[in-house]
Amino acid sequence: MSEIVLEQVTKRYGRVTAVEGVSFRAERGSFVVLLGPSGCGKSTLLRLIAGLEEVSAGKIHIEGREVTALDPTERRLSMVFQSYALFPHLSVAENIVFGLKVRGLPAPERRERLARVAELVGLTERLEHKPQQLSGGQRQRVALARAIVSENPICLMDEPLSNLDAQLRHEMRVEIRALQRRLGMTVVYVTHDQVEAMSMADHVILLRAGRIEQQGTPAELYARPATTFAARFIGTPAMNLVRRATIEPDARDGFTLGIRPEDIRLLANGDGGLKARVTSAEYHGADTIVTARVGEESLVVRAPGEVKLAPGAEVRLGWERSATHLFDDLGRRK
């Protein structure tokens, strides 16, 4: 059964359309990521689901109820904000049980739930602290604890990890995903970071300029990008997109050929392949990112291990034919 269903949801601010005709379903207990560059409408979409903004057109259903006109309170969901939105004058414990107190839950039950959630996110030692005495990661945990203590079936997260450093981000990714599975929550998670989307999501919804560009599992988006935009957005380094004529000289159409850097191999001399001239080689430890020129265009190659190539060196590039993606002149997959 679908927990959250959006039908043709549109949001306009005056003349600007932030979200246009978006429809999707989030299954119960699934982790759905709204992915896209900044300004694509993903945060607005989340706020529409939360009820913090009113839709201009379309319908939103949560747990089979239409909630389009309902207040955030009546939608029975929790939210984690990018800035955490912790109350600076309240202790960690008071921040976490804020909503329980609002709803008038008796004190013994509040204490019990607080203890359980604090244990779950590892904040038991910090309950009496004020938010500004905590590190970024700990504040993040408080925000998370406040979201799960209400035991709402749905949790919305708006770029919750963007204020953390890389190391912590990775830890929290794993932790949030584990927590979501353990509690069986339905999570809608907004991010501009495709690594977060790929590693956490059951279902990715890629947005571009307020519309859905493509949606599917991370593997589907990676293996069969529907457009050149999707192809570029998912995967690092981004997919190479070159004019088909560069690679296949007899092609006369305006099509674009896409090849992922990890699908290109550097061939030994004499094995045929495409001749290219190295412009740079960046060593990353596990692999080396080689940039090479073919005619007018640049191709990025992700070669395993350390590859020593001086700029200007000639290399030969090869790939499986099945690894190429073909897009028409409007950027759609052929």
Partner: protein
Amino acid sequence: MRHVYGWLLLTPAAILLVAFTHYPAVATLAESFFSTGTAVRPSRFVGLGNYAALLGDPIFTQVLLNNFWFALGTIPTSIALAMLMAAWVNGALPGRALVRLAYFTPTVLPMIAVANLWLYFYTPQIGLLDKVTALFGAGSHNWLGNPDTVMGCLVAMTIWKEAGFFMIFYLAALQALPPELGEAARIEGASRWYFFRRVTFPLLMPTTLFVLVNATINSFKLVDHLFILTKGGPDNASNLLLYYIYQTAFSFFDTSYAATLTVVLLALLGAFALVQFQLIERRVHYR
């Protein structure tokens, strides 16, 4: 050589401060221990004599009491009003720049002008207040001439003058609050009142403390309107401490007694500020 330059640079400011602040303050304190000199009887040291006279002065007691009621009448109401107005004009409101300006206008006006304006409101029979109450059949009132109503009139006018000024501080503080706090509270199901009581109000405490100290000082400092409206009357019913000091010094020419009153005023204000900071500081959350 360096410290000579340092002292030289400090000298102009130091001269001004000493000449117009520190020396007069010390001189006032010293004068309060002397009698007022006249042509026939030169000033002489009387120790605490002036302070003893103070305790036996019924006008001083009345003026102090008046000032207490004036402070109690103006401070809480103007602070509450300021908060309310700030909360209102902080929201999305058509023409809110105009409303903000309207609230702030009384602050820009000189107190003398305000008093003249309100003098017209309070004038018996032809004043605005009497014209309006006459519509409901009420008779003419001498609002400022009646000892029972005169203080209320001053309080109302002062609130009108001050609330807009304090609103500006609250407005600035409200705009510094991140909007996500309100959104988070909405999602948690908090009503607007609950959010105000549990989040906004505590977070405004630093501003409230600042405004409170200023309002207290103002309630002793602001007497310009008395010159226009009542001159402290009738029968000292609207006389305030600072106006009484002015009268003593420049109408009765008893400068020593005025100096004594001034010392009392300063001591009072100092004590209030101390208590306010001590008591409230502990409950204030600074970010």
